[in-house]
Symmetry: C3
Subunit: 313 residues, 3 copies
């Protein structure tokens, strides 16, 4: 696993952040670096920010991006080895990834979890199958368990807005109407702890994230206590991890509102988008001064550009 | 509202037409004008001509076009303010338009009306939401009530084929099997009157278009009278505006045929395509010498190029 | 019909193969040949290899490729002349092809057969409608009855791996769970015989291909006999041609396995992909030394590039 699928170490993260900030100033700084190179942007699930920002990042580097919505433009892939393929899956991941590996210089893949097979999701099975069979660097555009380019964009955003060396960062669970993957929560915890922030995670009981990602963070079940004196509050829903993929809590009072931040007057509020307004986060916050969501989204371009430039250099 | 979402004035229209005719002669005349600029082509509804012609227009100017079929590649957008987003809409227009506004230099949007909410459609709600929240120039690729690039292409085509300064232009309603928006009819009337043509609109009773668009045109319910001595006949279906979105007439005799043009021997026939052959217009006309439909379609490229070049200059 | 829709003659095939091998060594050899030219890649059916490889081929030649998934991004086309279009088809092929013909320099089209209308499929109706009404060179990306770019890639692959001037090439039918078109089988037979190989076709009784494509090949119903001493074994399913579109045989023993090749120790195994593993072909073969499937897929780029370069020269 590489830095373009997960967090590696603080030193590398700092380099990626610095490079991203350079690109933000001068998007076309390395406009010929990727000349003659192609990146395949493969989507097994829908996308807006991720697709467009990565396409722009590649283009800023002079790489040719080719988008393939595999679920819609092609067909369903068989992921398991040794299967007799007499059902609805048209092509095996082995064969498809091998071909795409021979067509491109870099691949980028979005592959959400099933939320039904905890073991398979937890080992990031589909991402690993693509890495193994393509033989190429595969950038994660959100895998079953991580969303590293989002987290890098989040770190860039915190870096731009922090007022102290070790800001208090709170990841707070929010309500949602659907069972949502853990990738953003996992990655944000992993990167934020890794980058040296003072990290607190708050959620209802039963919503503990996979411990692999939360080492070094404080877990605080009382949202009010958790939020006190926060510098950054990251709002995100996820389904239960232990009772895998289940919705255990529908308590609307977990929604972040202005009133909840009474003891965190300086807190900036973050969300990866898309956000369910007035379910996860109130309009007043999203439309107010605290919100960094548009900064995060804009930084997706430079996060991707920083990572792609490191890969092709 | 700007000339890339509606008709502005005759002088500007004449400039856009002249520029388009220049580009038709020399498509790559300004091939570096858009260097380093990106246009997002956003489709909430299907497209063929509009998508491809706008993509080519941008490319002729050296802009990078990125197509996003938002309804298929992304997810459903919530358009109303203040909603508790606990239904099937995944992202609010505010947030999505804000992000896209930060990724591109220009946006272009196709957003058809619902045909169920007359008030919302009539104020071009979705287009205005995108304009408001993106902060960018937003070119209309057909909104709820207008299709300006189509109408500009139509004006270019009339300009190329007219034999007199003030040709007689007839917009005639045609049958269709589905309830169809008013955008093409509205825009054609608005531009054709605005460009100084002698405009007559004919349709069954009850099919009156929104008067905002038909000021200055003659309304004539007798199709035969309307067509006499026409220089150009524009064929188009639309659903009722007053009895909003309804199909009031299924009278097949409103289809334009060669026989209907007995008193308009010189008439050229226009349609924006896609056309229902032998429902709206007969094969004999579409495949004959009168038809300008392919000229109109080709001019879509240069209409878009003319408008984009004016925006980025 | 041209070489970009079917096999023409051995001399032209040899030229295309040689050019493709040059491009394989130097993909950017003619990188400015297509400057200012555009190719429309039109898909009425899903695609992975074909779409991406043709897009890359065009890009290697400096042409701008624009992909249009007409079935998903646009709407259903009416193909029959003279129809009253009052059903679900939104636009006539005449009009759509005319427009696309005026927007591009070259078109490429994927249009599968219905497998329900033998007469229409056999005359390659849709492909011919596009050719007729677009007025452009139309490259077949798999039509109802042929898949020429696949076959050219196959010939390149055989050329690279053959150990004798006239290798023994066996096309063997394989089981499948769905009714599959004849295009790959037809084209492979047509090109392989045309290129001077010693061709044997083996399949269950009733699966005889259209004789137009199999002239010059041996038909051998005993798979074991057919495979003996083969240099290349091409595995492919197709539905019945005489009893049109039907599945007549579900005998799993027609699947190619290592054991079946006991009398063909040197045989290389080919398949166009996507392949149903352990239905058409065993994992042991696909993952072993005999398999050329990834070579074939890679050669799709250079086959397309060779053909496109011949067209635009």
């Amino acid at each position: 696993m590489k830095y373009y699928t997960q967090f590696e170490n603080k030193s590398l993260a700092d380099q990626l952040i610095q490079k991203a900030l350079e690109y933000k100033q001068h998007p076309l700084l390395d406009k010929n670096l990727g000349a003659g190179k192609r990146i395949g942007l493969l989507f097994l699930n829908p996308s807006l920010r991720t697709r467009v920002s990565t396409q722009i990042a590649a283009s800023n580097l002079g790489m040719e991006p080719i988008v393939l919505n595999m679920d819609k433009e092609s067909w369903a892939l068989e992921m398991r080895d040794g299967v007799i393929m007499n059902q609805n899956k048209v092509e095996h991941i082995k064969d498809a990834a091998g071909v795409l590996g021979s067509y491109f210089d870099v691949l980028a893949l979005r592959a959400f979890p099933t939320l039904t097979d905890k073991g398979e999701d937890s080992e990031d099975y589909i991402l690993h199958q693509f890495i193994k069979h393509s033989g190429l660097p595969v950038v994660s555009l959100e895998s079953a368990i991580r969303h590293p380019l989002q987290s890098l964009a989040d770190m860039i955003t915190i870096n731009e807005h922090k007022k102290s060396e070790k800001p208090k960062v709170v990841l707070t669970w929010a309500p949602h109407i659907k069972a949502i993957p853990h990738a953003v929560g996992n990655s944000f915890a992993e990167w934020s702890v890794g980058c040296g922030h003072d990290v607190t995670i708050t959620h209802p009981e039963g919503y503990e994230l996979d411990e692999r990602f939360t080492q070094g963070a404080n877990i605080e079940y009382d949202q009010e206590k958790a939020l006190a004196d926060a510098d950054f509050v990251y709002v995100k829903n996820w389904s239960a991890f232990n009772d895998y993929g289940k919705i255990l809590c529908t308590d609307e009072s977990w929604m972040l509102t202005e009133q909840k931040l009474i003891n965190a007057p300086q807190a900036k509020v973050m969300h990866c988008l898309p956000v369910r307004r007035n379910v996860e986060l109130s309009d007043e916050i999203l439309d107010g001064e605290r919100s960094l969501v548009q900064f995060q989204a804009k930084n997706r371009i430079f996060a991707a550009q920083s990572v792609l430039s490191a890969i092709i250099k």
